[in-house]
Symmetry: C2
Subunit: 317 residues, 2 copies
DNA sequence: TCTTAGGTTAAGTATTGCTAATGCTTCCGG
DNA sequence: CCGGAAGCATTAGCAATACTTAACCTAAGA
């Protein structure tokens, strides 16, 4: 069906030069090699592509048509290969990142901007979503890497972790919390499993995965039927729900540290230490990062390291 | 610079299948051949195109980019080759014709229409112009063939005739003529060279080539400084100029046969027979016509043969 | 635990690309 | 008019590469 592609290349140069000798010079071979390749191509597709004049070849209509197909291809190919090669010398081209929604919204644009001040040839594509979306996209090569919230995902993707390289970047303490009013009305100092599971909760998912993970961590068990009064995939909304006595929710402690200090929000503590949630960088394990990717990852890590001193992160979803 | 094109084909199939085995099946080779070709390609351009997972290959961003370049090319190539092959079975595709202006205008559209009733897959491009335009285009392969008026061109392209195949299709008698009034006032029965060259003429070209050819034919000489009172590249205009006593002009006799019979237009005769002009079919001699071209040429010749019985041709320019 | 399927690598054979030599032809310059 | 140059084509044979075979490794599924 499809002819020998290298013979198409020979045809292209003959067409451009209208001459076997010219094409031979371009290709750094003898005219004989060019002549034979063209003959083989014409034989292969069984269509004459040139009329032979003395010292010159005149394209047939079929030759014209074939050239019209090849011209844009070779132009684009040359540009594409050149760009790939450039990207090995200077960070350039595109980086495709997956990120939690609110982290992506509030943190990455600023990071992209400062990175691009150093490396203006790099552009970004970002996919905002939960780990259930980010992981498969990284695996399929649609994203170069992702940031995921591991605490949220523990039971969902455990079987596939072997294919990824997961590197924690950010640790944060995760707590169950409610408002002071709710605590005095509903909890009353009773932090037992039985008391807690009978109350109302605000959940990030229908599966209440985060809540389940909190109970598993603190009590080594969980209840299948938590009373989930609100499901919303936003930490801000969960905090608002807590403050308005809607129920309890799982939250990163530094986000509400001021409210905790003021006594407005009460963390629910057990004899176990709090969960340390890890925001991790996820990549395909066997993938060799390009220069551009490596440069960006180092930039990201440095930025997080510096920013981590002041714990300035906004909400992480 | 440009990589081995056949390895690009291998890459394309791997990408489509996301699998070495799948690509091997498509290409009818072993997986080993595919694996090695891909490795050589990556080595050649020094850019990884896939991340190797177990039983699967995940494209890198560079791989994605390369595929975007190849996809339209291979799609177009398959369609193009298919069309070329079809044209060998059924007349189809494009025919590019050169023609004298008024002949082209009045004759060919009708011919194209009836040809396309038989062969609806054929389309036409026509270039209207004089032989000076048509010949080089045929030579350069920009036209598949041309119709040219040989009498008009004799001295211009003689040296190049060897490269063409020239086949007379239409003979027509060419005369010098003027109106009856102009004849009685200016010619008065004196058909000598000296008398004629002193008069006014209507010419098709600045070079007055046609007039020169007429004199050469009838007198074996011509005058360098004919009094050319109008230059126009239209037979109709020449006839009108003749009728309005502007001067003499060279014209095909059958076009004005009724006016000659009525005595309104007088042919200038010498002891030599009149010029027989040939409208000829011109092709590159070494070109092998495609099926489509052959079919059309036969159709054209048949049409001319049948039409020639009634001498129904309109003006020829 | 065993089997299957898929990817990879090395070695060797089969095939093709390429070169060198030769021939033909046209064009140009002396 | 003749000789040389330039360009295309063909043949034969060598060099290089494509491809196959065999073997290996590994993850996934039964």
């Amino acid at each position: 069906m499809l002819p020998d592609f290298n013979r198409l290349k020979v045809f292209y140069y003959i067409f451009v030069q209208k001459s076997v000798a010219g094409a031979a010079r371009e290709l750094n071979v003898t005219p004989s090699a060019v002549s034979q390749a063209l003959n083989k191509l014409e034989c292969e597709i069984n269509v004459p592509l040139f009329t032979r004049l003395h010292k010159k070849l005149v394209p047939t209509f079929a030759g014209d048509q074939l050239f019209e197909i090849l011209k844009p291809f070779i132009r684009d190919l040359e540009a594409g290969i050149k760009q790939m090669r450039q990207a090995k010398q200077v960070p350039s081209g595109m980086i495709r990142i997956g990120s939690p929604i609110e982290f992506g919204k509030s943190y990455f644009p600023g990071l992209f901007a400062s990175f691009r001040k150093k490396y203006p040839k790099v552009v970004f594509t970002m996919k905002l979503g939960g780990p259930a979306e980010i992981f498969p996209m990284v695996k399929a090569g649609e994203l170069d890497f992702g940031l995921v919230d591991i605490f949220l995902t523990r039971d969902q993707v455990f079987e596939d972790f072997g294919v990824y390289s997961i590197e924690p970047l950010i640790d944060e303490e995760v707590i169950m919390a409610c408002s002071k009013k709710y605590y005095e009305k509903e909890i009353k100092g009773d932090h037992s499993f039985e008391n807690l599971v009978s109350k109302e909760f605000i959940s990030y998912q229908k599966s209440s995965l985060t809540l389940k993970n909190w109970f598993k961590h603190h009590f080594n068990k969980f209840s299948a039927g938590l009373n989930r009064v609100l499901t919303v995939n936003s930490h801000q909304a969960v905090i608002t729900g807590i403050k308005t006595q809607l129920g309890m929710g799982v939250i990163a402690s530094h986000i509400v540290s001021r409210d905790i200090k003021r006594g407005k929000i009460i963390p629910i503590k057990t004899d176990k230490k709090n969960v340390i949630n890890k925001i991790s960088l996820v990549q395909l394990q066997d993938k060799v990062p390009s220069l551009t990717e490596k440069t960006f990852i180092n930039f990201l890590k440095t930025d997080i390291l510096l920013s981590g001193k002041s714990r300035k992160f906004v909400n992480i979803s």
